[in-house]
Structures are given as C-alpha cells and as structure tokens.
Symmetry: C2
Subunit: 218 residues, 2 copies
Amino acid sequence: MTRLVEVRTRVLKQNDTVARRLRSRFEDAGVSVASLVSSPGAGKTALLERTLTELIGDFRVAALVGDLATDNDAKRLARSGAPIRQITTGTVCHLEAAMIEEAIADWLLEELDFLFIENVGNLVCPATFDLGEARRVVLCAATEGEDKPLKYPTIFNTADAAVITKIDLAQAVEFDAAAMHRNIQAVRPGMTVLEVSTKTGQHFSDWLQWLTSQAAEH
Amino acid sequence: MTRLVEVRTRVLKQNDTVARRLRSRFEDAGVSVASLVSSPGAGKTALLERTLTELIGDFRVAALVGDLATDNDAKRLARSGAPIRQITTGTVCHLEAAMIEEAIADWLLEELDFLFIENVGNLVCPATFDLGEARRVVLCAATEGEDKPLKYPTIFNTADAAVITKIDLAQAVEFDAAAMHRNIQAVRPGMTVLEVSTKTGQHFSDWLQWLTSQAAEH
C-alpha cells in the first residue's frame, strides 16, 4: 500500500509539472482555457456544442474532448465549425496534462481566444489532475439529484463554478433547486452556480456571459 | 510508467484473490450476490430501496453501499428494514473486494437470500475490480443518452445485465430506446437488458423476476 501511494504521488507530481508548463503557455498566448467535468451524460458535449456555436461569430474558439472510446463527441463538436481534437484514453478514467500537451502540439495558441477541454465523464478521478486550465467547471444535471455535491465533494471543491444542466427537466424530476444550492455552498462556500438548459436555451446567456467576463478578467 | 503498471497489476491480483475467497463464501452460504454500477445519479439507490422493500416480505435481504462521503444512502436504504452497511471510500473511486470482506465480517451469510452491493457512482473504475459478486448489473438512465455503452464499453462488458432506468422520462428527453439497445448489443452481444421506472413502477416486476430467476439458477 505504501508503495502504491508513493507511485501515485509521483504520477501526480509529474502531472503538476506538465500542468504548470501548460498554464504558462496558455497565459502567454492569451487564451482563456476552461475545462468541463461531470458524470457521464450530464450534458457536457451538448453544452459545449451550443457554446462553440454561439461564440464562434465573435471569438476564436477550439476544443479538446476526452473519452475512453469513440470519436463521436469530436464529430458532434466539429459541426460548430471550431477546430476540435478527440483524446481517446482507452481505459484511463480521466485526462492528464501530458495528453493535453500532446493534443495541442501543433496548434498556434496565439490564434485562439477560448480553448475548452471536455474531460472523461467521471465525477471522481478528474478532480486530482490539473490540466493547466484557468477555470474548471463542474456540471451536474437536475436529473442526477441534489445530493451529488455532498457525495462527490472533491470535484466540487476543485472547480471554480458549477453549472446545473437540464433544468428544463427540473419539474419532471421534482428537482429541489434550493437543496442543490445549499449542498454546493456547504462543500464550496461562495461558489458561482448557474442553472441552464442547453436544449431550450434557458439562462444560456448567463453561462456565456460568465465565460466572457472570466476571460476579460484574465 | 512501467512501475505504475506493475503496481496496478499487483493491486488487481490482490483484489482478485480476495474476490475469489468472497465468491466461495457467498456460494457456500447460498446467498445470491448482485452488485450495481452506474454513473452518479442514475438511480442505483432508488432502485435498490424499492427492490429491498419489495423483496423483504419473501426473502432475507441485505445491502452494502459505497460512497466517497456521507452515509445518506445507508440511511435511505435502512428505511426498507433490511440490514445495511455504508462503506465510505474517502477519495477511492470504486469499491474493492477487501472493503466488502471487512464490511460483512460479522454478518452470518447463511441467514441471507440476497446481498446487494451498490458501488460508488462511476462508469469507469469499478469495471476492473471483482467484488466476488455472482452478477453485476450496470444501470444507465434514459436521461444520460443512448451513446453511453459505446463510450464506456468496459463496464458494459463486465456486467451480466443492463437496466435502463428513469424510463418515465424517456419521452421528455427524446430517448431513442432502439439506439440504446443496439449500442448495448454492439458492445456486449446477447446481454439481458431491462427498462424500468423505479418512480412509477413500470416494468419493475421484470427486474424482480430477473433477480429471483437468477438466484434460483444458482
């Protein structure tokens, strides 16, 4: 057990070194980098597709998308017209900084305003891997229930904002928004929380506004 | 990297040894053991609570439930009247056989007909950890989308049956059941697939019947 912990610590240290290098490159290039983490099926790709489509008229946007298998998400996102790269992880349950570095090796970061990184659908393991992103956004669908922040505190703790997705279904699943907000604040006091429906567009402009205000702060 | 793979292989070997020991104990005791795996929020606890409540009149049932944090699920499940133990994993993203062995240390397995094990909500990492269960059931909510089997093939491959949950919401999310079945069969040909709504009870009897028929085969 001790040896496993040692090896794990070493892997995380190596990841942090690469993540620091990436963060410097992103800052130097003036690109605003946000990563998206969530359970499988919380709506990361749908949110990202709409985000790219809405931003692409005014900004230079691109995205990396991680999955164990298939390049379905990259194909979906490419419909927006933005440059997209799929990262296929095989059996690895999270993205690592080295995968990002490799994926963007021939991209000119200076030519981008926004770079989005969609992680593998997993509410646990991505928490401990810094990808050099300026902001990490955790998505949680109204259909998943209000207890998720309490049961997966680490990922909420490492994120800068939470987006509650699929709020068009809130009534159908008797979603208790007040309880969800209370649970998020219990885990991460002061966290920015947005509620959106990618499908109907409800409050989607709040999300876009948050993204652009964050980029401006940069 | 080589060293990490070595350590990982050793951990999996140790887990398999404990899992084999557990499987023998379960078989000797005549207890039918089923584990539930899924994304966070797919409805494992809700399905299990109803299952325990419906079976407890005719069978001796118990459950173990894994979460990173909180004992909320154990409290929920205890309302059924069945013996329940919470396994809190901290930052570990899956249950391991040794955790099961420790949790049941003072239980008399001979006095049980069914033992359920609810894994941590994670569609990736639990796949590679045998818990000694006779059957593994993967849950996927209609709200998660039809592409999940293709994107998380390993967990579907290691499961004996798939349960599509929240089918009461199928219409609201324009769930394409035919595509879901096609994707499951593409990953694991011949797999038993059930569609249920724990909330409305739709097809819930099919699930109970599957469980009892599997136990009888045993």
